[in-house]
Structures are given as structure tokens and as C-alpha cells.
Amino acid sequence: MPKTYDAIVVGSGMTGGWAAKELTEAGLNTLVLEAGRMVTTADYVEHVPPWQVKFRGLDDRRTRSADQPIQRECYACDEWSSKFFVNDHENPYTTPPDKPFLFLRGRQVGGRSIMWGRQVYRWSDLDFEANLRDGIAVDWPIRYADIAPWYDHVERFVGVSGEKLGLPQLPDGQFQPPMALNCGETMVRDAIAKQWPGERVVTVGRCAILTESLNGRAACHYCGYCERGCITRSYFSSINATLPVAQATGRMTLRPHSVVHSLIYDRDRRRIGGVRVIDGETKHAIEFRGRLEFLCASTLESARILLNSATREFPTGLANSSGELGHNLMDHIMGGGANGKIDAPADKNPVGRRPNGIYLPRFRNLQGGPKSPFLRGYAYQGGAGREGWGRGTDLPGFGADWKHALRDPGSWGFGFYGFGECLPNHDNYVEIDKDTKDAWGIPALRIHCVYGDNEWALMKDASISAAEMLAAAGARDITPFVDHNPPGKAIHEMGTARMGRDPKTSVLNAHNQAHDIPNLFVTDGACMASTANQNPSITYMALTARACDYAVGAMKRREI
């Protein structure tokens, strides 16, 4: 009889790390299954300069286009960090030809928390009430008051630097001192504040990067390449923060190379009995037993595991009595914005590479404000900077004087890049593609997802608003744009196992617990009932910690 763990966590990334930490700290013997390899700080390459990589950062484009033609679409999948992204041939998925979707994945201990963008923004009731207010999809079963203490809990441990603004649509949190805006950014901030006082606010990004040491992790040293790792553990990842704490309890068993095939349903107890795993190296099937199962495998991988776990009782996928499993897939739409040149001080230039930019919170369709001809809203990331030696290609001249002139920084530029809310839509869904299997013989996903008119209207408005703000800041050569990014590119995929109040229309309840199966929790992005426009990771983390607390209580009450 194999050992029964108190809990099994599938995934070791952003949410899996939190589940591991919270469950082991609550006393549970916890097995963490990770599909990919072990990653240690020896894999970190953030201090390797360009001259020590073969193509100096131009990337090994032949190998990349052969092995990672999809992953390379992510900016972080470069000559240094491509090892943190999957091989596309080993990890196939399909789409209809007219519905491209970018499925960007990191399969290793740490998951995508190694290469994430580190931006941290709380949601507010503007977001949690949005579906109810608009009569779209289903109402969130929670409100800000339910999650606020859990935001506090995770932010204190993550270490979030940021500026308090007192904005109702973007609640303040437990912040370390903010990083600084450079003089191009303060100039634009002040011009916008003058034109749209109280309405449009430029602040420095709230990010999961330390500006003060915390729990043995050092403050940022501004090398600038977080997605390559961080030997001082200054930014938050599961490797840098949560997994070491779980390990220190002595109650975590972390098993890399454990590709979860499916969950095992115990029909007598009407519970999940365990997990069916394909060993990533030997390709042998193994089973593990646990009293409690946390799916933290990422939105699409968690959906895939549940769809691949169909039984006689759940013929369309485990815990799918609602029929909503796999449906309502969303990703932030991004890429409406504008660039321009600004007249910031020519005698000033930042020193250091700040791994963070500006943030301009949502200002459309706020409660009590004017209504736009679209639903919901968007926010901007971006920032100011000066041209470097790269401008030399188009700078007439050559020789000693020209070389010397390139020592001075070039023009100041400013860019706004919009991230917009994506509405939930039942017709955006994933299913199992029985004809396509991954390198471990597990059926792959077929993804059907397109943006709708509302998403494109948001980006069009984001482009126009960005241009008008640059104009207000006196910018020249203003270039508005709307990038036609396919869904998936923002890597904020959400939905497929949404939370809701009614078991007939949602997969999970207010505690991320499956309506149909009490010992099954899904706490990654799959649980989301809408997307807001804020980067989602901190909300996943808060929901995970909250669900762990509930699950441990339910076990103590012998409900599970």
C-alpha cells in the first residue's frame, strides 16, 4: 500500500509554491509534483554579460526556431532564458487555423515564476462586481473584503515595492518603498496630472522586487535581467521564496520530472484518491495517494488534467457537472499604446537598470464616472528612457568623432503600452485533442480562443488616450499603435474552471473548491471568473493562501 500524503500539490510555480508553503506550515505532509526538471541558483544567468554568450544576445535563432518556434514569441525566451521555456515539439497543442493562440510555458521547479513580469496589482470591487453589474458570465462568489486580508498576507511575504495612491480602483497594499521614476517619467507624470487631475495617475510599477531586505533576501542590485534568475533572491519566485520555507518545515516532498497525467477519482468516497503520474525521465506510470489535491499547474494545464481525468460519473471531465470546465478562457489583450520623443533634461540619465516601469491605473468606466462606449477598462505599463549606442546605425557618420559622440545618451523617449480586460465568453474554450499527444503520451489541448469587439475597442481607445497624454506632455514624433497580438501573448491566461456561486454554472466555489468534489481545489488562473485589467499573479497567490486556510480547516472539521 503506497504512502498516503496529507496533500498533493500539482505544480511548483507561482501558486504551487504558495500551496506548498501554506499546507506544510499548517502541518500537512505535502507532495509537490513538478513536471519539469530541478532548477537551482546554479541555473541563474543574470550576471552573464553578452560577450559570454555565443551570439551576444542575438540568440541561437536556428535552434530556437527549430525547437521553440512558439516560446520564442515571448520577449523573455532569449539566449539566456530560453532554457526556462518548454520545447514546443515535446509539448504540442493545436488550434483551429483561424484562431492562433500562444501557449507560453515554463516547465521546471519554479514554473513561470522564474520569468514572470513581477507586476503586482490588487483588484477592487470594481472588478469583483463587474460580471454582476454587466450581466456577463457569472458573479464572482467573493468580494474585496474576502480577499483583502489574504492580499496583506501574501504581500508581506512576497515583498512588494510600490507607491500608495489611495485610488479606489487599485487598492494600496503592504508596500516596501517604491522604486524611483526617472526624470523623463516625472515630467510626463506632472504634465498628465495637470491636464487630468485626479483622473490619470502615473506611478512607478508596483512590483515583487525588494527595495529593502526581507527574510534573508537582499534588496535589488539593479542588474536588470530578473527573468534570467536572481542570485540575491531579490525578486519573488517560488524558488526564491516559498519553496525554501516549505522545505524547511521538513514536510515537503518535492518531486521533479513528475508529469501529471490525470487525477484518480474514488467513486465510493466521491473524492479524489490520488494522482496518476508519468515519470518524465523513465516514462513509467506511477500513482501517488493524497487526502487533499491542489491543482496549481497553470490555467491550461489544470484544465487539461481535469479534462483528461474523465470518468463514468464525469464523462466530459472531472468535476464538470456544470459543463463549464474548459470554457471561458481569457487572456488580457495588450498592445494598444503610443510612443514619442519627450523633452526631458538632456543633461540627465538614469544609472542602473531598473527592472520595472511606470503604471497608469485604469481611468475608464470607474464607479460614478462617465461611461465609455465599451465595457470595463485598461491600464498602461511603460516608461521613459534614452537611446544608447544602438542609434549609431542610423546616425550619419563614422570614425573617431562619431564614436565619441555615441558616448552621450541620445533622445529621451516615452512609451505607453496598454493592458485591457478580456470578457469571459463560453465560446472561448479548450478541449482534448485525441489525435495529439505530448512526449509522455498524454493527450494535448485544442484551444479555441479569439478576442471580441470589446477587447479591440479597449486597445483602440488605449492607443488614442496614450497619444493624447504624450501630446499633453509636449512629446514629438508621437506614434500611436495597436499591436495585433494573438491571445496567450500576455501570458495572463485565465478561466476554464471558474469560481461561482451556483454549481450549475461554475466549477469552483468561493474557496476554490470543486463544487462536485470536496477534496479538489484549483487555485491557479483557471479559477478566474473575469480578468480585470491588472496583472493577475498576486490575486492567484492570495486565493491560493486563502484556499489552503479553508482546506486545512475543513480537514480539521473532518469535512474532507
Binding site: 550576471h47 518535492l254 565619441h404
Partner: protein
């Protein structure tokens, strides 16, 4: 599970480490082989031409130039392993065309020209490229070879150890963020 890996994972208390320590760790962990790679695509004449062209674009001043930074070796690597065969052939044809232009201008290969003759030819190429740059993108025709060479030279130089450290004063670990520093401190030695 790999116990040693986990111990390594947990044993990274680097608080208090200085920028110099970190840099040393980074270098020790990731040191790569140095120069000395034999050329794979450029023949000796082509190579000498690339060396000469790149060093006219970025000559030695109070810091080393493109020749000392071995920009030619990096370009050879790109030709061998990075460019597609068609792109590689266009670069080599562009290089041959420099000699054709040199023969028309002063009756010799580029390499055999005097410094004055070489600079005059590069000035002509630079002016043509500036005109190309200023014309509308839709109608201006393909990228001139000289434009591409200029980019390859700049990139190869500033991403080399010589160019990054001595010319640009690139700091792998700045250790701080100063949002509005005087611009002249950027290129100043630490």
C-alpha cells in the same frame, strides 16, 4: 528527489554579498571559451576587408576599436551559424561590391586604398545610406549593405568585453538605481 539540489536551492543566503563578489560568482559560473576561433566563412581577403571597414567605422581612440574587439570574428560566426544562406550570400555580395566600388573610385581593392581613399569611399556609402534612411519606407528599396555592416560593427563592438567595459563602461551589477544622474557620469569610469 535530488537532495543535493535542494540543499543548493536552500543554501543561497547571499545577503551582504558585494557587487564584486556577485560579479565574480557570475563569471566563475559562466566563463566561456575565449577567442581564437578559426574563421569559417570569410576568406582571408574578405576577412581583412571586414577588419579594415569595421575599424574605419569604429577606430581605436582613447579606447580600442573594432579591430581590437575582434568584430570580424563575431561577424564570421553570424555568417556561419546565424544568417540564413540567402542572407549570408547577400552580405558576401555586399562585401564584394565594396571592392567593385573601390576599383571604380581609385582603381584598387578597398584594402589597397590609402586611408584618404578608404575614407572617401565610406563617406560616399554613408551619404547614400543617409539618403536611403530619409526616404519613405514603402518605396526606398532593400537595405544597403553598408547600413547592415554599420549595425554589425556597432553590435559586435559594444557587446564585446572591450567595447562594453572600456568604451561604454557597462556595469554588470550597477548596485543602485539613480533616476536622474548627471548624463556625463554614465560613460565615466567608476
Amino acid at each position: 528527489m535530488d537532495r543535493r539540489s535542494v540543499l543548493r536551492l536552500l543554501g543561497v543566503a547571499t545577503v551582504g554579498a558585494t557587487a564584486t563578489d556577485l560579479e565574480a560568482i557570475g563569471r566563475a559560473l559562466h566563463r566561456r571559451l575565449g577567442h581564437g576561433t578559426p574563421l569559417r566563412i570569410l576568406d582571408p581577403h574578405q576577412n581583412a576587408t571586414v577588419v579594415a571597414l569595421s575599424d574605419v567605422i569604429l577606430p581605436a581612440t582613447d579606447t580600442p576599436g573594432a579591430k581590437a574587439a575582434l568584430v570580424n570574428q563575431f561577424i564570421d560566426l553570424l555568417l556561419a551559424e546565424w544568417f540564413s544562406p540567402e542572407e549570408r550570400d547577400r552580405v558576401l555580395a555586399g562585401l564584394a561590391n565594396v571592392d567593385a566600388r573601390a576599383k571604380t573610385a581609385f582603381g584598387k581593392d578597398f584594402l589597397d586604398g590609402t586611408p584618404t581613399e578608404q575614407i572617401a569611399l565610406l563617406t560616399a556609402l554613408d551619404d547614400e545610406t543617409a539618403r536611403w534612411n530619409a526616404s519613405p519606407q514603402a518605396t526606398r528599396g532593400p537595405e544597403p549593405f553598408y547600413h547592415q555592416l554599420k549595425w554589425l560593427t556597432l553590435f559586435g563592438y559594444y557587446t564585446s568585453e572591450v567595447g562594453a567595459e572600456q568604451e561604454e563602461h557597462y556595469a554588470i551589477i550597477p548596485g543602485r538605481y539613480v533616476p536622474c544622474a548627471p548624463a556625463d557620469t554614465v560613460a565615466a569610469p567608476e
